[in-house]
Symmetry: C2
Subunit: 390 residues, 2 copies
């Protein structure tokens, strides 16, 4: 059993502190461990008194209930272990089930929240992780900014400015990057690794330095859970007013705030908008509503229809608005979706409609479904295409 | 047993998605619940198969092993429960022990990392939480910025700019706010609630709008765990080069970066430096080393001596440097510590030394020990004192 070594000589002075004073090294098993040779991963949990320990994770085989899971095995030291199959390079998430309770790996402090649950994460080094990990390159700045709105108080967004922004007087193009239902202004920078993707692709010369603006598209919330005056509320997937036209119709005030507070190139040829799922739906509607605003549109696993009976002027006269948008068409209208996505069929219908009208678009189809694994890849594929034509 | 209600009509469409597609609401017990009348807190964990469930938390009584803990009781539904004593307003942290395994509360997505462990958090509303929670006021911006250094690559810091910074052309005073051993550039904004404290005190007119700069004081790391090219490494309390003079001697390059990239008032009367524990040690050394730089110095539960045998020019001729610093004394030299702090005795010695030399300082003594509970309060007490005299 691998143990972290504690250095008692160095620590003695501090450990003599009363126990309620939180100064300590962690002792115990190391988990997860990427087995270098074959890129499998070993997970460990010290739980001698537990009866049954299983794990869940987005890289595990589907069990009979349709869940991605695997049983763990207890060794002679009371440590439960599981070693995965060799895995392709990516960012993965997992959790343990200890006697039926879903818990995080106490040996791994790295977690991400996806809507209502926390999971631990790890990287398998290689092609994809080379885009998602922090590398020895220059880094942009990520700011959490509150902006005033006309429809009720201030709202929060995340803004990435590229390396060199602070020390130059240059102006930059802007990508507006929207999250899905249940997401928030932190989703793309945390689950989506957007800052690392931009840093690494800019450093490689594959992406034009740009500002990336990540607003909060849940109009009933001013910011991510825990960042509003609602306190530490339980996050929700189905928030009110998520796809009712309010966010889309007020979007120009975000563009106007960004153009007046950042050194942007404030014209159509230097603006892109993209989003995943609900954010793809928003991106289609906002770019259609404001045909003079965006020359690049990215729809990642997009919803293509309002949910249920919703009236909004944003959702009327769609044919006419699309005709106006494609009269002077965006330089890139990009749609990407996975083969197993539950929105696949409605995307087929949406693409047939575009084709029937003769509107040009580009299409990228990937494996798997409605997953961050895909959205990180779509961003990595879409961003290098932006702002190349002048 | 309280259950969250899931709305099947709304969710049906999405839940028909394959199970590996992470779109869901959370079902299950609600935990924690603050009992409004008396401000006690009830914790719940659904774990019918577990043998023993206990909890730990910084508000719980000390058990016989000197740990803050309490047993939980299983009810007829297989839910383990514990209700705390009434608690004074504050931010508290806790975790569960399920059959000997330390885990987070799966019903609470809000966690904070303190060096090597994650704990869940909650607020007891009232006096202190009114400073720490996000309120309906204007909010400043928090940016994660990389700055170039002369001693090896770029380093990351957190910078808070006050409400109105972006839309004004005003210049602002600057507080440099330093973390303790095992901390990083995120410690004050996350564990320390520094942005909320500043937002709320500025909104109340109790604090002068100021920039707050929170660098990373671990010279062997360029940024917080997970934010460097070392990947998702295990966080460590005892990092190399934490108190060896390198951070302190290079501190002027941070001031110079901030003065050249932000609209600061770049003089002594508009600069403060404060820190907790190791950060208090750093603040004393940096202000002593640069007597022309800071008019306000805050030492929160400070270490006062290098650890072990360390040579650095920063730690030589201390008497002479203090004499120079106090020849034109800072407007405020503030020391705060808790009665139970393991650094209490060396702080008595440090204060006696200042008194013997006739150097003016202010002293604040609180209950308890080396805890974030105290450091948040020291910041709330110290910040209103800054930049009042012109």
């Amino acid at each position: 059993m691998k143990k972290l070594i504690v250095l008692p000589a160095l620590l003695g002075l501090w450990l003599s502190a009363p126990a309620q004073q939180a100064i300590f090294e962690r002792e115990g098993v190391v988990s997860p461990v990427v087995n270098n040779a074959e890129k499998s991963v070993t997970f460990r949990l010290e739980a001698p008194a537990a009866q049954v320990v299983e794990m869940g994770g987005d890289f595990l085989p589907l069990d009979s209930l349709g869940k991605n899971g695997a049983p763990m095995t207890k060794n002679a030291d009371g440590v439960w272990e599981y070693t995965s199959a060799p895995l392709p390079s990516d960012l993965y998430s997992y959790y343990f089930m200890v006697d039926g309770v879903r818990v995080n790996d106490p040996a791994n402090v790295y977690t991400l929240r996806d809507v209502t649950t926390l999971s631990n994460i790890f990287f398998i080094p290689g092609t994809r992780a080379d885009l998602y990990e922090v590398k020895k390159t220059d880094h942009g700045t990520l700011a959490k900014v509150w902006y005033p709105t006309e429809h009720g108080g201030s709202r929060r967004m995340s803004i990435y400015t590229p390396p060199g922004y602070e020390s130059s007087s240059e102006r930059y193009p802007v990508l507006y990057l929207l999250h899905g239902m249940g997401g928030d202004e932190n989703a793309w920078s945390e689950l989506g690794r957007a800052c690392q993707i931009m840093d690494n692709l800019i450093a490689a010369g594959k992406v034009v330095p740009m500002i990336v603006v990540m607003p909060n598209g849940n109009i009933s919330r001013t910011a991510a859970p825990g960042e509003t005056s609602r306190g530490l509320e339980q996050p929700m997937f189905n928030l009110p007013n998520t796809m009712d036209g309010i966010f889309e119709s007020h979007f120009p005030e975000i563009v106007s705030f960004v153009d007046s507070h950042y050194r942007t190139l404030p014209d159509k040829s230097n603006r892109a908008i993209a989003g995943l799922s609900m954010g793809g739906f928003h991106s289609a509607a906002i770019s259609r509503q404001n045909p003079e605003m965006f020359d690049y549109v990215g729809l990642f696993s997009p919803a293509t229809k309002p949910r249920g009976e919703v009236y909004s002027p944003v959702y009327t006269n769609i044919d006419k608005k699309l005709a106006r948008q494609f009269a002077d068409p965006p330089k890139l209208y990009y749609i990407a979706i996975g083969k197993d996505d539950f929105l696949y069929d409605e995307n087929v219908a949406y693409r047939r409609m575009l084709e029937a009208a003769g509107y040009p678009y580009e299409y990228h189809e990937s494996e798997e479904g409605h997953l961050w694994r895909n959205w990180r890849q779509y961003l990595s594929d879409f961003a290098p295409r932006l702002f190349r034509e002048k």
